[in-house]
Amino acid sequence: MKKRNLILKVIPPLIAILLIYGVAPGEDKIIKMATTTSTQASGLLDVLLPELEKDTGIRVKVFAKGTGAAIQDGIDGNVDVIFVHAKEREEKFIKEGYGTKRYAVMYNDFVILGPSDDPAGIRGQSNAAAALAGIAKAEALFISRGDDSGTQTKEQALWQTTGVPLEVRKTEILKKGKKAEICFAFPENSMAWYISIGQGMGKTIMYADEKHAYTLSDRGTYIKYKYGRKESIDLEIMCEGDSFLNNPYGVIPVNSARHPHVKHELAEKFASWLISPKAQFLITNYRLMGNQLFYPWNF
């Protein structure tokens, strides 16, 4: 019986201590950020976030997803700030009142990757639309993200410019009682060579590498997979440098008028820190195996 009493005396305070220490430290200085797989996979955040904490005391919880899901997180108020790369959709996000302001942080570019034997013969092509059209003409395997991400948005826009006939697949669902459509465009009669896998950039690169296929990737993730790992990949850059392939990244604090619980002030502070000279300098100097991944917007 004595033992039991002791347990009863010890355990509640222990739980109380655990609760206090588990929840308390700096809770008010933590913000949640939804971002794209490319910023996370590139390793840039691992450099920026510790410096941010040193300067401002803000800690960031990162949730990496496709751009579509990251924006949805912002719309639902699940996060305090979003850091994504799909400019038009970001502007729409602000116009609809979900975000307060877009801070242009940095940019890099997309590249079209392909197997070294280049079955479609597009190596060195500087026009991205022509390169894609070449792939379609040769019916060479092409792997699409198909996950509503920023890269996917860019790919869809690129196909529109190629002149290749497109097929639009629509799925009807109900949203708030009203019929809504989810659209998805892809080249016509491409079942045999256009594969949409609905996964993140890294997985897509691995998939394309396995299947000797072409794909569209942001340069950062490509460099990470090509040079940043023990086991390299065979994919090479086939097309780069087209201005259409530019890929600007923006950070947007979620509007506290829509979602009163978001930590707007901290998110704002975080966003202004990202465009401060120090952060911009860090972004410029971030190298992966000697390759610059991102270019500052504000430097």
């Binding site: 899901a69 949805q72 996950d147 697949r169 109900l174 949203k175 989810i182 609905g198 996964q199 998939y207």
Partner: protein, 231 residues
Amino acid sequence: MELLTDSFLSAILLIFSLDPEVLSIVCVSLKVSGISTLFASLMGLPLGFLIAYASFKGKRILIICLNTMLSLPTVVIGLFVYSFISRRSILGSLDLLYTQKAIVIGQIILVLPIVATLTIAAISRIDERYRKTAMTLGANRRQTACVIFREARFGIVAAVIAAFGRVIAEVGISMMLGGNARGFTRTMTTAMALEYDKGEFILAVALGIILLVLSFSINLIFHFFQGRTGT
């Protein structure tokens, strides 16, 4: 609540509009899970039968090992199979990765222990007297086995149901080995994971509802096979 009602109505809409995308996903799911369950049963039922009736050294250890394999995570199986069939490994030239065959291989490894252990359990429960009676009545080994199988059919069909339920609900192996390619290896679970990633929760939940409805109808069929024993 809105999410649930919207999802439910969307599920109905998807079923009745015979959306080609959804149909293809459902077909892939059923085909892959059906084949995996079939092969796992073809191997697992005799295996379970043998283990239950044979007496050999290390039988208990073998059963414990099989039971342990019940808790194999799908990610581990996925990684294991991946390391054999990726282009840079020994079976790379077969070009198996990201095909339905790859999913089937992984899923068989996943449910073989389920079928085997549940069969062992079902058969061990059968009274020894059935075997003895059958043999005294002049049944040969094969006929005796049939008698026991018949008596244990409730438990054996339950093993197959459990296996099918596990593979159709599984997402790790399908994602890692199938790669979620639209129209080829996109199953209901990987499609749900994708719609969740895209932020299309309604479509994700709608697919979940369709999966449950399908499972229910398939279990109705199984129930018929199971007979009236034990109900």
